[in-house]
Symmetry: C2
Subunit: 147 residues, 2 copies
DNA sequence: TATTGTTATACTCTATAACTATA
DNA sequence: TATAGTTATAGAGTATAACAATA
């Protein structure tokens, strides 16, 4: 950003959300750089670790991305050695995507780094303010899904 | 989104910010549809109206976008009849971008519609909660710019 | 030489359509 | 016929490099 944004922009919720997200994405990317992945890829690993076994399509649904997007995402994570595809025995159309040992280790370390980065990002609000913000955002998303 | 996102995602600040922003962008786009522009284009009109005269480059700096991005943005707004380019007399390298009568009218009406849409989006938090969220986001952006 | 606007180009993220293999 | 994965392709949105006009 070149200089301070004018009030006519910082009074817009859309502007605030967009630029807050951009700033956080950059901060998290910096924190995750040593682990060789970004926040989006880490979220994929977290989803795969939380529920097992997941097919590519099931993982894509959890993440809210298209299955064609998931192909590229798994390609990258497989190239990096964090996951492996294997054909499901029960239904040979499905790829089960599972974490490798490296994937599991990286997930643990990177999740700690992400948590630290998020806490630092939210530090200006204080601990209570940070929890409040997260709660508010959750409430908005939940409300939106019902509408 | 296909179904509820799992807790492993809704506990991530990045996920919350991204999807809150997506939901708001969609809500604002719906509200602005009758006026023939989207939230980003409306923000350009608002910046141009707030400070006069602005060259393309100056407007781009206020908005935090590249000058090449600004070219396309002004092209679209000019095609829609909301703004006009004219050469600056003082410095003939510069395009002064000014609102047309239609641009000014549309800005007023669309800004009211945007405000209504944002208030409705934030309604689950109550008036006090909504103000608090906006204040928190402003605080985060200000803090981030200083780091 | 530097700045402003422009064009050409490319890169990221995402989705749609069509293909393959399996069911 | 329908589903899972894949590929090709295209559309936003954005940025970098190079050029013309002007300073």
């Amino acid at each position: 950003m070149a200089g301070e944004p004018p009030d006519v922009l910082t009074g817009r919720l859309g502007y605030l959300l967009k630029h807050t997200q951009l700033a956080l994405t950059a901060a998290v990317a910096r924190a995750l750089e040593p682990f060789g992945l970004d926040g989006r890829e880490l979220a994929v690993l977290a989803v795969l670790a939380a529920e097992y076994p997941l097919s590519q399509l099931a993982a894509a649904e959890r993440l809210g991305v298209d299955r064609t997007t998931m192909v590229a995402l798994v390609d990258v994570l497989e190239d990096k050695g964090f996951v492996e595809r294997r054909r499901s025995q029960e239904d040979r159309r499905k790829n089960i995507v599972e974490l490798t040992g490296l994937g599991r280790e990286t997930l643990d370390k990177a999740e700690r780094a992400r948590g630290d980065a998020e806490r630092e990002f939210l530090a200006p609000l204080g601990k209570a303010g940070a929890d409040r913000l997260v709660g508010d955002l959750r409430a908005l998303l939940t409300a939106d899904r019902r509408s």
